[in-house]
Amino acid sequence: MFTSLRGRIILIIAMVGVSIGYLVNRGIKLGLDLQGGMHLVLEVYDPDGTMTAEARADAIDRSERILRTRIDQFGVEEPSVQKVGGDRIIVELPGIGLNDESRAKDLIQQSAFLEFKLVLPVTELQSALGRIDRQIVAALGVEELRLLGRDEEGSNQDIQNLIFGGQSRDSTQADSIQADSTGVEEEPEEEHQSVNLSPFTTLLLSGDIEGAYLVATEDVEVAERFLALSEVQRALPRNISLHWEADPIGLGQRTYRRLFVTEEDAFVTGEMLEDATAQRDPQFNQPQVAFQFNRAGGRRFSNFTTQHIGDYLAIVLDDEIVSAPVVQDRIGASGVINMGNAEMLEAADLALVLRAGALPARLEIMEERTVGPSLGQDSIDRGRIAGLVGMVLVILIMTLYYRVAGILAVMALGVYLMLVLGGLSAFGATLTLPGMAGLILSVGMAVDANVLIFERIREELILGRATRTAVDEGFAHALSAIVDANITTLITALILFQFGTGPVKGFAVTLSIGIVASFFSALYVTRTFFLVYLSGKKASDPISI
């Protein structure tokens, strides 16, 4: 039915119509390099390679779901979260410029593991401090401590003394702390050499609340390093863990961070959360996150708060304490996290990640590409101009060289262009910058097919064939070259698609669609236009080619 002239014209019009329909309704998805945005490749953090492939695949599966929920609520249009090759996630956030970049990354990387723990008085740790100090000295050596400036003796002191007494730290209480005699694995020689060094204890100031020490902000890094030592972790008393408060506090001239002593086990975790929303504290107008437990979580929470009225409760997010309120009353299934001086946006983001759930593993960024929207727009504009100039050149060359036949070819190229754009839209392909180059290249292939055909027709005419025979023969003879040339290019494009990533894949898709369309355009559309052109002519009439 599509071999008659009328059938051919109907098919071509229908295909162009469908293409235009797709273009109008769906448009063409632009790559991040063109419209601006952020492209991230994430992998499960596993530097030692200790995770089994199964565990990794499972972590990636769950992370993908959680990230999708988080990102869907993040508020960018058409975000994409895609699992690739079983151990990788690709996140694409169109329109995320370099200003929102860190916020977006936080949202993606934050584990958002929420725990509620009981705060213990620091006296619970006091007895272990001597042991901890000795372990640090043993692990790092006196020399290293001297380099760190931590080869001092002494104990922790009261913040009140520091601020109001104005004494320097090592002048007081040099000998009070070695009361502990329970240390088991001490070595006598070590004991002699460094009997009085207390690198960790001297960093601690007993603070404003009984559940936390204060550490001067500039000392936090050293303290963190000490605490990270496995020897120190082992020296901690059973069922005690230490957590930094997220935000520093200012006292007098200096800033400090609280180091909380808490029970190790959380009595309830974020897994039992049902909902979380950002709101403003009605009293002080500060941002806070209101949360709601599910039934089991609510029961635990209410039991706990009943027993611990007057105690501090630590709300621990990813190992840091975001808030440590006093339990005033029995609390049921809901509560709030006060965000202090944070921005409302931060509260909103926290509520969002809490709702979406905690990531099962830390995700490491393997690759990041961010293009600002203005740069992308510039590329589109330039591409458009280049496309127009190129088109005008092709039209000029073809019509000057082949006259009427050239005009037919240009019309066929017009159809070709509609089909390629429609095809990109229909397949939901992404147009990238190299993709635009691929498009231009496939225009070249389409022109080439027409040139091959026309040259053949000319040869046949020179051989003295009748017009209609010459046209038929020209198409027939050019066929094998066009087929072979297109298929080899298609092979290259498919291989690129297989091995390419991101922008190169876009190039491969555009090129593939372009080749198929150029094939159809040259052999079917140009032919049809030729048939229309010849339809009023006798077999012997000359044609303009």
Binding site: V41, L98, K105, I365, M366, E367, E368, R369, T370, G372, S374, L375, D378, S379, R382, G383, A386, V389, G390, L393, V394, I397, L400, Y401, L433, P434, A437, G438, I440, L441, V443, G444, M445, V447, D448, V451, L452, E455, R458, E459, H477, S480, A481, D484, A485, I487, T488, T489, I491, T492, A493, I495, L496, F499, G500, T501, P503, V504, F507, L511
Partner: protein
């Protein structure tokens, strides 16, 4: 209008001159690669896509020079800085070093902010690739080129004859080698799009070669074609396809030229590589692919001997 109508150029007879030209180009390119190995430690100037590291494109709101930028980023220790298209736009290409994908950009942004102030510049693009991904991309690019070679050769061998496939691959390898030589010589950064460009050259060069070979095949299979002198046969085929070769290459180059001039800095390298490749591809389809076919035939025969032998054997067994 007609170009190269009824052309009768003696292409094949002049093939030794072409060999000299190709040989010189290839040697110069290899010289460039060797020079690069000694001066930058790698035969090509691999971009962050392959080495891992960070590419940061920064746009200053006030006139700024690469020198100022270099001073701000550590003077002689500063990573390579290149001006990018516009006056006050630069790209910084920094190896990862001790940084991670997550920290490197922040570090550079801070350094820039300390030196120029927060509002003096905008970072318009960053691309950071971890070493693992970089190695993967390198491997994938190599595999892509290898597989496209093998598959296209297999296809051509199937559609034509094996020697055509071999000759086409020789011509394509010739094009890639010269292109890589130019890239090394001019220290063009090898990024992902550059690999796409090289593969496009593979496609284009094959396309050109196939059109000529298609004509060779046709003339060969025409009545009396097998009895023609191979040199005449090849010359005739090249001359017959010459108008098409010139017109198609001319049109493609015109479009690419437009892209080079107005396409902007982001795809300038990409377009330049394509222009180079199309030019070499056109040249090689005439001066390398067909002579290669002739040389293969001269050394290993055109298969007609074995065909005769087979026929005789078939008759004998019958």
């Amino acid at each position: 209008m007609r170009l190269f109508d009824q052309a009768r150029y003696a292409f094949i007879e002049n093939r030794r001159k072409a060999y000299a030209v190709s040989g010189t180009l290839i040697l110069v390119g290899i010289g460039g690669m060797i020079f690069n190995v000694f001066s930058i430690g790698s035969w090509q100037d691999y971009g962050v896509d392959f080495t891992g590291g960070s590419l940061i494109q920064v746009q200053f709101h006030q006139p700024a020079t690469a020198g100022q930028l270099r001073a701000a980023l550590g003077g002689s220790q500063a990573p390579p800085i290149t001006r990018f298209g516009e006056e006050n736009e630069f790209t910084i290409r920094a190896p990862l070093g001790d940084d991670t994908v997550e920290t490197i950009r922040v570090r550079f942004a801070n350094q820039l902010a300390t030196a120029f102030g927060n509002d003096a510049f905008t970072i318009v693009r960053t691309e950071t690739v971890g070493p693992k991904i970089g190695a993967e991309l390198q491997r994938n690019a190599a595999l892509a080129i290898l597989f496209s070679f093998l598959l296209t050769m297999a296809y051509i061998a199937m559609r034509f004859e094996l020697r055509f496939g071999l000759a086409a691959v020789i011509a394509t390898a010739h094009d890639i080698l010269i292109t890589l030589g130019f890239l090394a010589l001019f220290r063009v950064e090898i990024a992902l799009p550059t690999v796409a460009a090289i593969l496009t050259i593979v496609g284009y060069s094959l396309n050109d070669t196939i059109v000529v070979f298609d004509r060779v095949r046709e003339n060969l299979n025409a009545k009396g074609g097998r009895r023609l002198d191979p040199v005449d046969l090849l010359n005739q085929s090249i001359n017959e396809t010459l108008p098409r070769t010139v017109l198609t290459s001319g049109t493609t180059l015109a479009v690419l030229g437009a892209l080079l001039i107005v396409g902007g800095a982001v795809i300038r390298d990409f377009t330049a590589v394509l222009i180079l490749g199309v030019t070499i591809g056109t040249y090689s389809s005439i001066f390398v692919a067909s002579p290669a076919l002739l040389e293969i035939q001269g050394r290993f025969g055109d298969g007609s001997v074995s065909r005769e032998r087979k026929k005789r054997r078939a008759q004998a067994t019958a």
